[in-house]
């Protein structure tokens, strides 16, 4: 136990208490477009924090970098520009929504420690290209770190717990941590790479039960160019399938991920596997719902599920809402901006959709 505590102490991290500069995620904005809005709302309205959402930020270019499309020098300088925007806005605490970006920002700062000449090159290139200069962040964290830090305050404000209200039993929840959260720099992730606790801590604090299964730490299978190139996409599907097959015997009620790409793949590949193999990974034929941690946080705080964007998931979240005892109006699910009913999406051949 003593050794375990010693090991655990290595993987604690400093998470700033307030005044954050927010860096958005390409994938999260496109595929889970309410999640970042919800994160900002929770920080500002529930926790009373100051967080700056900058119009001038751009992609960090991480997907292109990890696909071999752009040089390291380019991404270092793009990162330097994001730090310059943070500096101009008067902030020191950089928080990013994307796990790939978190890996990139961490990697660039670490590179600059080991190779100071790289930092000098990036500074010079940024100055020549944009006229900007920057101060490095005092604190760099992922958005899930912030929710983890305030998980107990959120639990106090919550209207629902991660408990099946019909049976009174904790919901069985799979946590999936994006590889670049802690596998590159384990000391930068809460709990490190072997026992990451960033999402498990939320599950514990909010009444759920963690599911420990053999492939818990396996990659979702994004693989950057392997997913983006259609001919290579079997890589992505096969790795997600490996995880789903491994977790299936534990009958999870929910998969929660801190990486937007992982959330997407574990959701959509369930649809594809149902079409290809006629198989779903639950006993009722709906599949296992896959939510972002912002969506889960919004649910326990009592936000309307359709304002959280749950209708944009291919695996239907309604069975989960029923288990949680969250009241919702099914007729609001496919409404537009002015509450007008929209034509419903087509239904998959195998995967069941409520309604």
């Amino acid at each position: 136990m003593k050794n375990r505590n010693k090991l655990w102490a290595l993987y604690q991290k400093n998470i700033a208490d307030d005044h954050y500069y927010f860096a958005r995620s390409c994938i999260r904005q496109n595929f889970f477009p309410a999640s970042e809005t919800i994160f900002l709302k929770i920080l500002r309205e529930e926790l009373g924090k100051d967080i700056f959402d900058d119009a001038e930020q751009t992609t960090c270019t991480g997907i292109a970098y990890h696909s071999g499309l752009i040089p390291f020098e380019t991404i270092q300088t793009v990162v330097a520009r994001q730090f310059a925007l943070m500096t101009e806005a008067g902030y020191q605490n950089f928080v990013c929504s994307c796990v790939t970006s978190f890996g990139i920002y961490t990697e660039v700062l670490e590179t600059w420690k080991q190779f100071p000449e790289e930092e000098a090159k990036a500074r010079a290139a940024l100055l020549r290209a944009t006229g900007k200069t920057f101060t490095k962040p005092e604190n760099l964290v992922h958005t899930s770190d912030i929710i983890y830090k305030f998980r107990d305050e959120i639990a106090e404000k919550s209207k629902f717990r991660l408990v099946n209200h019909l049976t009174g039993r904790p919901l069985k929840i799979v946590d999936h941590i994006g590889c670049h959260y802690a596998k590159i720099f384990p000391q930068e992730g809460i709990g490190g790479a072997e026992y990451p606790y960033v999402l498990a801590g939320m599950i514990d604090a909010w009444g759920g039960q963690q599911v420990d299964y053999p492939e818990r730490r396996h990659c979702c299978g994004f693989g950057f160019r392997q997913y983006l190139i259609r001919e290579n996409r079997g890589y992505s599907l096969s790795n997600s399938r490996k995880k789903l097959e491994s977790m299936e015997p534990y009958h999870p009620d929910l998969i929660m991920a801190n990486c937007p790409g992982c959330t997407f793949f574990l959701d959509r590949w369930q649809y594809v596997l149902s079409e290809m193999e006629g198989k779903t990974y639950d006993t009722e034929g709906f599949g296992i719902p896959v939510l972002t941690y912002e969506e889960v946080t919004g649910l326990i705080l009592g936000y309307n599920p359709w304002d959280l964007g749950l209708q944009i998931h291919q695996v239907d979240p309604e069975p989960l809402l029923i288990k949680l005892g969250i009241p919702y109006n099914p007729s609001e699910k496919y409404q537009g901006a002015c509450q007008q009913p929209l034509k419903h999406p087509a239904k998959p051949a195998i995967l069941k959709i409520t309604g």
């Binding site: 309410a34 959402d53 751009t58 590889c179 693989g223 890589y235």
Partner: protein, 211 residues
């Protein structure tokens, strides 16, 4: 400069290769090795032989393009090597020397350049929903068809600022920010790499046509 001398100047290579003992832990944990002809143990072993011909064959082949960059290998290597970093350096050199275009997987970089690569400079995002349709991405499923068809209304409901000026989800990136990005790409070799990808593939396809 020999290929090895060029590779050795890349800091990703310097960081990635210490001394491989060939234990194969990287291969055991590797998602790419489980489902394709990629083997990080063999790749690192090949590189540390310092044989120009073997290195050239790696740069011309498909294997370096099979890695998924999850970097699970970095966590696990008991000797502090990172095969994923070595792959980054090999890919950069393969494009620089034009050898990438001799492999099928290497040539696919052109498609990536013309999609993700150009979207970055056009939109300021790596991925933008206007470009993601179910013809290219059928796994998106019927819910995505619905979302795309109704995106303006649904995104407004969800509080996004799709295509609008200012801050917010899916906002239009300002011309000033896009101009900064392009200047950074010009200044740091990003544009040059795009050009090398276009020219490298064009050269090989040209040869094939002549034959």
């Amino acid at each position: 400069m020999t290929l090895f001398e060029q590779l050795s100047t890349d800091i990703r290579f310097q960081e990635g290769l210490k001394a491989c003992i060939g234990c194969g832990v990287c291969t055991a944990i590797c998602p790419a090795a489980q489902f394709s002809d990629y083997d990080p143990r063999i790749l690192v072993d090949t590189v540390q032989r310092y044989d120009e011909h073997l290195l050239e064959s790696l740069l011309k082949g498909d294997m370096i393009w099979r890695c998924g960059e999850c970097l699970s290998c970095k966590t696990r290597c008991p000797r502090g090597n990172t095969p994923g970093y070595i792959v980054q350096a090999l890919r950069a050199l393969s494009i620089k020397t034009g050898l990438f275009a001799l492999s099928e997987q290497g040539r696919l970089q052109l498609r990536l350049k013309r999609t993700v690569g150009e979207h970055i400079l056009k939109y300021g995002y790596c991925v933008y929903l206007d470009e993601v349709d179910t013809d290219q991405f059928p796994e998106q499923g019927p819910v995505w068809e619905w979302f795309r068809e109704n995106r303006e209304s649904v995104l407004k409901r969800l509080g996004a600022h799709y295509g609008e000026e200012g801050a917010g989800t899916l906002r239009k990136i300002s011309e000033k920010s896009l101009s900064d990005l392009r200047a950074i790409f010009r200044e740091t070799g990003g544009m040059e790499r795009y050009q090398q990808i276009e020219e490298g593939v064009s050269k090989v396809i040209g040869h094939e046509k002549q034959e």
